[in-house]
């Protein structure tokens, strides 16, 4: 039986793991490769490496770091952040990423998803969607939440899948870093709208929060703060999930 995945997320800025609240007030949380190895050791099913530094020099540094991490870890690695064209995707896969996530660039130019999926296969193209609640609807926002797009996040999810996204990584911006739990209604809508795996992100404060969102039917839960701060280990989260009869590795 296919297991649900627990994915620690490394937000990497200037070559270091950082974590902020609602994408601001960043705190230093150590070396990304060390953190990746530590989480893999704890039983992480996959790792997500989110690059949050822009610029060409930062990009070359990112590729070098991913190449280093990619040869040292033995679980899958998804890399995203600042991916704006197909050569970026090719470079990251060549460096050792197993999947690449595309966010704002896909919203700006949805054809990019099809180009990347045709060339590299849907199984390695993740479309990341940052969603913010506006009344009763969830709106997709771009550029780390700084740019309003006016697009319905669930509609955009459907289009991204039609264009070849093999997985969706959806973050509730209202919940991210707040540790108030996942935005369950957002994932219910997404699960009904698309038939690719969905990774839920944003808001985990406890193993129970993660079990709650996995019980809805999402394939994976991504979390950062609760792991970086050493509040909970991946193994503790998995233990709680197993007690709730969720299929875990």
């Amino acid at each position: 039986m296919l297991r649900r995945r627990i994915i620690p997320c490394l937000d990497v800025s200037g070559g270091r793991v950082v974590k902020g609240v609602e994408f601001v007030n960043l705190r230093d949380c150590g070396e990304p490769v060390d953190a990746a190895l530590r989480y893999a050791e704890q039983g992480a099913d996959e790792l997500c490496w989110l690059n949050i530094t822009a610029g060409d020099e930062a990009w070359d540094h990112l590729l070098a770091q991913v190449a280093h991490a990619g040869t040292r870890i033995d679980v899958p690695l998804t890399v995203g952040g600042g991916v704006s064209d197909e050569p970026h995707v090719r470079d990251l896969l060549g460096a050792g990423a197993d999947k690449v996530s595309i966010n704002s660039a896909a919203l700006d130019r949805p054809d990019l998803v099809a180009e990347c999926a045709e060339r590299h296969g849907s199984q390695c193209i993740v479309v990341a969607i940052d969603a913010r609640r506006t009344g009763d609807v969830w709106e997709a926002v771009a550029s780390g939440g700084r740019r309003v797009t006016g697009r319905n996040a669930v509609e955009w999810a459907r289009e991204a899948v039609e264009r070849g996204a093999g997985e969706l990584l959806v973050t509730s911006m209202d919940s991210d870093g707040t540790q108030r739990g996942y935005a369950l209604d957002l994932y219910e809508r997404l699960l009904a709208a698309v038939d690719v795996p969905i990774i839920a992100s944003g808001g985990a404060s406890s193993p129970a929060d993660i079990a709650d969102v996995l019980e809805l039917g999402v394939s994976a839960a991504l979390a950062a703060s609760i792991f970086h701060d050493g509040i909970h280990t991946v193994e503790e989260v998995k233990h709680t999930c197993r007690e709730r009869n969720l299929p875990m590795r």
Partner: protein, 202 residues
């Protein structure tokens, strides 16, 4: 130290596969040169991407011929993910003719609740084979196409919702793993070690 050549035809996961083989103690060569492949005592075919592009790269470079020749000489060969899929006669992905080293066709997975089949799943042994001795195990998959469990070369299988696929195949010295051993932690290393110890017989 067991020598193994990873055939580089432009697929994505060559680097991580080499690192995993080195962790198992292998002496790894990466090559896109058919003459190097022809002289290798043990071969691996990595795979990430689509079957059509993979076959085009293999045929145009002369690597396909070198692989067919190696199979005739019973050189142990292990394909991973798309590297497994191109061992068969045909793939529905891009409707392309493949290497024809194993009989049967690769189809889009039917009966899964969600595709791609992404994540960790059980690999259950179907018959006794040198490559399946550590099974059952849980390994990492990332694909939408597969050969079905009733294919004659299936030696281990994996259940996905309403369907079952062949997750390890072998016939003679030609074998494949649909999952990614290089990303499957200890379970992946076990398969790679079995492959490095395998003389290509059954």
């Amino acid at each position: 130290m067991t020598a193994v050549t990873v055939v580089d035809y432009g697929g994505g996961n060559v680097r991580s596969l080499c690192a995993a083989l080195e962790r198992c103690g292998a002496a790894v060569t990466v090559s896109a040169d058919p003459s190097v492949v022809a002289a290798s005592p043990r071969l691996m075919l990595a795979g990430q991407g689509a079957a059509g592009a993979a076959m085009q790269a293999l045929e145009s470079s002369g690597l396909a011929e070198a692989l067919r020749d190696a199979a005739q000489r019973h050189v142990p060969l292990l394909g991973v993910c798309v590297g497994l899929q191109v061992l068969f006669d045909h793939s529905d992905e891009d409707d392309c003719a493949c290497l024809g080293l194993l009989h049967g066709s690769v189809h889009r997975i039917q009966g899964a609740d969600r595709l791609p089949h992404l994540g960790w799943n059980d690999v259950e042994p179907l018959i006794e084979h040198p490559l399946t001795q550590d099974l059952p195990a849980i390994t990492y998959f990332a694909h939408s196409y597969a050969v079905t469990a009733d294919i004659p070369s299936a030696v281990a299988v994996t259940r996905i919702d309403q369907t079952t696929i062949a997750s390890v195949v072998a016939r003679g010295s030609v074998a494949g793993a649909q999952f990614h051993p290089e990303r499957s932690s200890e379970a992946g290393r076990q398969l790679l070690r079995r492959f490095l110890d395998w003389d290509g017989s059954h």
